[in-house]
Symmetry: C2
Subunit: 415 residues, 2 copies
Amino acid sequence: MVKGPNHHVGLGVLGLGLAGRLVLESLHDNPLVTVVAGSDPREEARHKLTADYGARAYVSLSALCDDPEIDAVWVATPTALHRQHAEQVLSKGLAAVVEKPLAATVGDAQALVDLAARTETPLIAGGVRSLDPAFRHAREIIDSGRLGAVRAIQAHAVTDWMVRPREPAELAPERGGGLILNQAPHQIDTIRLLADGAPVRRVYARTGEWSPLRAGVGYYSAQLDFGDVSATLTYDGYGFWSAGELMPWASRERLQQTRAATGRYRKLLTADRGTDDRPHRDRLRLGTATPDSWPAGASGGHRRAEDWLPTDAGVVIVNCERGVLRQSARGLFVYDENGDLEEENVPPGDANTEAAAQLHAALVRGRPPRHDGQWGRDTLAAVVALASSGRTGHIVELDTPTHRAPAAEDTGEES
Amino acid sequence: MVKGPNHHVGLGVLGLGLAGRLVLESLHDNPLVTVVAGSDPREEARHKLTADYGARAYVSLSALCDDPEIDAVWVATPTALHRQHAEQVLSKGLAAVVEKPLAATVGDAQALVDLAARTETPLIAGGVRSLDPAFRHAREIIDSGRLGAVRAIQAHAVTDWMVRPREPAELAPERGGGLILNQAPHQIDTIRLLADGAPVRRVYARTGEWSPLRAGVGYYSAQLDFGDVSATLTYDGYGFWSAGELMPWASRERLQQTRAATGRYRKLLTADRGTDDRPHRDRLRLGTATPDSWPAGASGGHRRAEDWLPTDAGVVIVNCERGVLRQSARGLFVYDENGDLEEENVPPGDANTEAAAQLHAALVRGRPPRHDGQWGRDTLAAVVALASSGRTGHIVELDTPTHRAPAAEDTGEES
């Protein structure tokens, strides 16, 4: 499986919707991984892939897998199809990067983990905010010991997730949809990373749904316990405001524009109640997206050297014994016991670039990815526990998975 | 008990430490309530009371109660003494305002509630941030129905509570001290008010203590359930940063100065470990405080027409069905379903002024105070449940107290 040291990984992107489009944008000039092909049932998407990205376009996954330059496939299809598609990829001996959530159920995720082990093929759980460069840098600061051990973490997200254009399946938990399955992975994955990979032991959550426009949970709060570390999560997906308002560097004008756009879409949903919003959703997909399609930037981090604003993971605050870490416009704020505040810059980057680096390191140097299938499966188990606790009102105790010491170094970017 | 309509309530302040000093500052020009006397064992405090506030000074509570102009006593003594002192006051037929927490135990609080009922004497649970004018205005907006029902509330505090000058008793939960007993009342009382007085049904909390300088809980996170409303609280009292950093209007320079001052005191604690910090604590008390003594302003709200910054209750976010409310520099931000943001100004005021207004309305117009003894007792019960859940890791179910419809109007200020 291990390729030569100078091998450029050939990637196929399966599914050229929103997630696939963002992968293309993120990786178009990637030094380690090249998108050589893609697949989507929509003709416009295939056309755009070839015209704009010079990649070969296929209708079927099996044709994509047979492309001679393909080493790995990025599975960016609807969640309910993740297992089936990733199984096809892994069975052909190709590596797979799978968007979050890894699968629609923990059982499906476990099946992928087992298959990856059997075929000795890299499986990477991608698409999560924990792959943003700032969090990797946060881990480095934590590992340096200068702030002492991590003791409590908070993540507070305020987004318009419930008011974005959606297909019905995206909002249906039984088909891998819904706010919790799709957004809690960002927060839980990030918190797990910051808690140094310690297993989640117990989850308590409350959920709320109060929109007449969108059925289903649109708000949750949760408490996760990791033994020595505890974490508090909140997520408001109703879009009346955004967590960016808590960032002094955010342009008030731009925040206002975003709120107004959400308000307009909310009105449209009110008028259209009962229909799905597929036509609007199409504006997010490759081939039918327009230059002003959401989101304006790349898929995460602050790749375009814009100031960071909180998105899916929210405002993340890491409370350590002797200080506090949180995200800043260009990196991280580090508050120490002397009362000093230092802003540490983090080079621009994004989650997809980091996942690609882990993929490259796995294929070319045989280095196990931190965000492997087991990692994604464990995050999904905590996400499912959150949903379950929210439904029942009970604390969910999780089986303690084997603690895996995190890799000393994650990606192939330095060494 | 009811006085004539133009009666100016004569108030005695018992205990001229930090809380008592802030009461004097708040009420020095109050149109409804006049501080006519006070009591404290410290000579400097009594001298200052007479010299600066023109009030009579007594050594003992019984002498204070015998002052001919006294209608009510504000109990600002250490928490462990609240019950004993308030009982003396109520037994003499005088009204009592008691600082938070109402008492050191729920049993003590209940005894006060029962005594107030028996003597038909007003008992007001004061000293809590829920009395800040912004929250009263928030209730008016909620009651107007324009944002729909309240569904979830968040309160996130980041203060230096653990690193301020303390006497040993202030940090000892068994003597009414500690972060939870003293600071959770602010958050829980506020959330209860915003949840329209619905009873707290269940509490789940996690606590953290990680300072070698100060024993005891310095961090907590909790989930409160009120039936239809759920609330998430976090409180970080270690002072490495402050929630003011999340307010764009906060002066970065001033935030830095506050952090640096906390850092200096933290260093001093490191050097002095094992001793108590009584001399530093004295700098907060009447008679020994200096003009630059903490806190710089009045006891709450934004009485001096300064921009509001989060303190004990933290950043409070009220999620309603059709919008969101949170505090702004001069009042409240109201986010609505159209994507509009309106800042509604709230006239300057503070918690002590509001408690005084409730006291006046009770004594002069016989109007039952919203923040009465039962209210304070119920808040304390939820606070104690939080501490207990934090210790045991279990969900605490609370006996559902009788739901009392909140008074349509709280204070004597308008009518």
